[in-house]
Amino acid sequence: MRTILFDAAPPEDDACRQGLDALRRALTDEGCSVRTFALARTAISPCRGCFACWVGTPGRCPFEDASCEAARAVAGAELLVVYSPVAFGCWSSEAKKALDRMVCLVSPHFAFSGLTRHRPRYESLPALLGVGWLAEPDPEAESVFARLVEHNAYNLHAPAQRAVLLEQDEWARQRQVCRGALREMFQ
């Protein structure tokens, strides 16, 4: 399965990077061919909120940086995996700098049924697996994170979605949790 991994693990956070390692192994175990965008080392400027990617240069942000390549990769993928420390129940700013730039993947036209969202630009967009890293348990943040992944999947027209939370644990257990989520998504 063509898989894109947005890796927002801070390079200096060993515990968080252990979770990333377990996740990568789980992805290969499940037969995913993974292309990784290591966001801490990738220059992506914040979205300017100008909507040029909808009306000026439809489907493409005119401010070219690595986010354009990331958007191209996501458009052609079957699975998008985002790995990020959970910041107040949300993605970290590092993960979010890339996600904000993915709005070019949907169309400016609205879908008129149900809760409002935009129509998809491409025939198929990838399933979404959100993997959050929590240094210590926080039930409030956990439930907000699960809702966030669900909403992101709805707005990005992901055909399947799962939110997984990794905490301080053995590597093998973290890997098992990720494998379980992947199996549930695609069974």
Binding site: R48, G56, D100, V103
Partner: protein, 223 residues
């Protein structure tokens, strides 16, 4: 004397969220002449040491911090999250309690799209050692434009009333009341009309940009 800091989270200088934040602060200043207000835009602020120092100083100065920002992809924009991460890295331990309130606006007509942002703000307040003073979520920001609320006339009356109530509560040292949150969430125009106007807005921009026939372009289509 009350010291209120507005953290403006939109990259757009003429954005709706900045207008809403300013309207709230103007109301607070009008209610209590001893209220001092400052505004800091988070766009690019943390890129340099000087900006980080400014944010630090303004945050330490304020007794009430109001974040006013748009919803980007169901959550606060990256730059807002960066500012929140920066502030929470050193939780507030001053003698005086510091209060935190958040306003979020979103482009979809349902204000429920702001709910995650308000939850994130509440969790941030807990992590940063601040008192959560509640927040307001506004849907259908396209109907508010970037002008003042007065320029929008009667249509914006529920928004103005919600801000009045929030300003009064914050000035009295109370959290934003649930009635204000309900008023803020009220659709200003019926959803079908809003969507029609929003679509027309995009089409007219595309017409001007000569991209109207290419709006559905798929530049990243698999070959």
């Amino acid at each position: 004397m009350r010291r209120v800091l507005l953290l403006a989270g939109s990259p757009r200088a003429g954005g709706v969220s900045l207008m809403l934040g300013r309207e709230l602060l103007e109301r607070m200043a009008a209610l209590d002449f001893a209220t001092e207000v400052r505004t800091l835009r988070v766009s690019g602020l943390l890129d340099a040491q000087e900006g980080r120092a400014r944010l630090h100083a303004a945050f330490a100065w304020a007794d009430t911090v109001v974040l006013s920002a748009p919803v980007y992809v169901d959550s606060p924009p990256a730059q807002v999250l960066k500012a929140l991460e920066f502030l929470a890295a050193e939780p507030w331990r001053g003698d005086e309690p510091k209060r935190f309130c958040a306003l979020f606006c979103c482009g979809f007509p349902e204000a429920s799209h702001t709910a995650i942002c308000l939850d994130v703000s509440r969790i941030f307040a807990r992590k940063a050692g601040l008192e959560w003073a509640g927040g307001l979520g506004f849907g259908g920001s396209g109907a508010l434009g970037g002008q003042s609320l007065a320029a929008r006339g009667r249509m914006a009356a529920p928004v103005a009333r919600a801000l009045d109530m929030a300003a009064q509560a914050l000035t009295d040292g109370r959290p934003v009341p649930p009635e204000a949150r309900e008023l803020a969430a009220k659709p200003l125009i019926p959803k079908p009309l809003y969507l029609f106007l929003a679509e027309s807005g995009f089409l007219s921009l595309a017409w001007k940009s000569r991209t109207i026939t290419r709006l559905g372009a798929k530049p990243y289509e698999k070959q």
